[in-house]
């Protein structure tokens, strides 16, 4: 659980994001138990109050749930899980669009290039 936190975003939101990424790529499965607040603070080297706040935020967003006297677990709600993936995807595309827009390339040309690069990466990984 080595996270490189940046100094300018709230740490609790960076923790929430870390969990969303793990959920999106399937490293954290629906219903999977997650560390206690104390353990998370210790492993991520953050203030226990901050870990607490991150868990509260994730509970409010429906990402995790806690039954009495049990460790918190990743939600099994498909809708919420799908939303996490969409959210991260849209965010990444937004960043991409912002950075290429200044180059003023026609969208068709851009998409061709994206297609080539994307599948080239697939080949490499395969």
């Amino acid at each position: 659980m080595n996270v490189n936190f940046n100094n300018r975003d709230p740490v609790y939101l960076q923790i929430v994001r870390y969990f969303k990424e793990k959920i999106a790529v399937g490293e954290l499965m629906p219903g999977e138990e997650i560390p206690s607040r104390r353990e998370l603070a210790n492993r991520m080297k953050v203030n226990p109050n901050t870990a607490q706040r991150a868990y509260k935020e994730m509970e409010e967003q429906g990402l995790i749930y806690t039954e009495k006297n049990h460790p918190s677990k990743i939600t099994t709600d498909r809708k919420t899980l799908g939303k996490v993936r969409d959210e991260l995807l849209v965010e990444a595309v937004d960043m991409f669009v912002t950075s290429v827009r200044s180059i003023n390339v026609p969208v068709e040309e851009l998409l061709d290039l994206v297609r080539v690069k994307y599948t080239a990466n697939d080949d490499k990984e395969a």
Binding site: N7, K45, N47
Partner: protein, 229 residues
């Protein structure tokens, strides 16, 4: 809660503290930041009533420090106060004899946490390990508040990391901690509250997470604004 209210302190004619006010909550880590000589240690000494103040008031859980509140709070100075020929075990025994609130179980746990050998003599320890013993002796007390003077100063990166790990562990949980430092880099993510001192006054008091969330600034960004005006 520790409340420092409009505290003034003179050394001779020189006014070191010119009306310092801030609060430090239980269950939170409050960091006093300021350049050397700004009066950080004086503030800690004043909270412990180790030095008389000229004006103002200091309250611990709403009460002035006395025999009873004194048992609630401990001060870990920036250098170890034990005799150098003592072993770590002897220093622990000394603390046990001296303080009713000494917690042997926690002391033993801290020994393991810091990977210290109790039969080592204090004089033989590295600077980093001396700092750890110093912290151990203070943290093993069952108190509500811990004041630490420059716990990270002058020690290597790995020892600093080990000491920082204390702050994220149950060894600190539910206590109110005040630490002084002039290097914030290592511990930016660990602290709840920041109190910036300059010229004997508090120039800014803020929550580290709130300044990140509301202003998109790091603690260091705010320090630059305050100190490089």
């Amino acid at each position: 809660m520790i409340e420092v209210k409009a505290v003034e302190k003179k050394f001779g004619r020189k006014k070191i503290l010119k009306g310092v006010s801030f609060t430090a909550n239980k269950g939170e880590i409050t960091c006093l930041i300021g350049i050397n000589g700004v009066g950080k240690t004086t503030i800690l000494n004043a909270i412990m009533a180790l030095t008389p103040i000229n004006k103002g008031q200091i309250l611990i859980d709403g009460k002035q420090i006395d025999k009873n509140t004194f048992e609630k709070i401990t001060f870990i100075p920036d250098a170890i106060t034990m005799l150098p020929h003592m072993t770590i075990a002897e220093a622990m025994e000394f603390m046990n004899d001296f303080y009713t609130c000494w917690n042997q179980k926690r002391a033993t746990e801290l020994l393991g946490f810091f990977r210290l050998n109790p039969s080592d003599r204090i004089a033989s320890l590295s600077k980093g390990n001396t700092a750890k013993v110093n912290l151990l002796l203070g943290l093993a007390l069952d108190v509500d508040y811990v004041l630490m003077d420059e716990p990270f100063s002058g020690i290597d990166m790995f020892s600093r990391e080990e000491i920082a790990n204390v702050f994220t562990s149950h060894l600190i949980e539910n206590r109110g901690v005040i630490i002084t430092t002039h290097e914030i880099g290592d511990i930016e993510h660990l602290i709840d509250k920041v109190v910036l001192l300059d010229d004997g006054m508090v120039t800014k008091e803020f929550s580290a997470e709130e300044v990140r969330e509301n202003e998109g600034k790091s603690v260091i960004d705010v320090m630059r604004e305050v100190y490089q005006r």
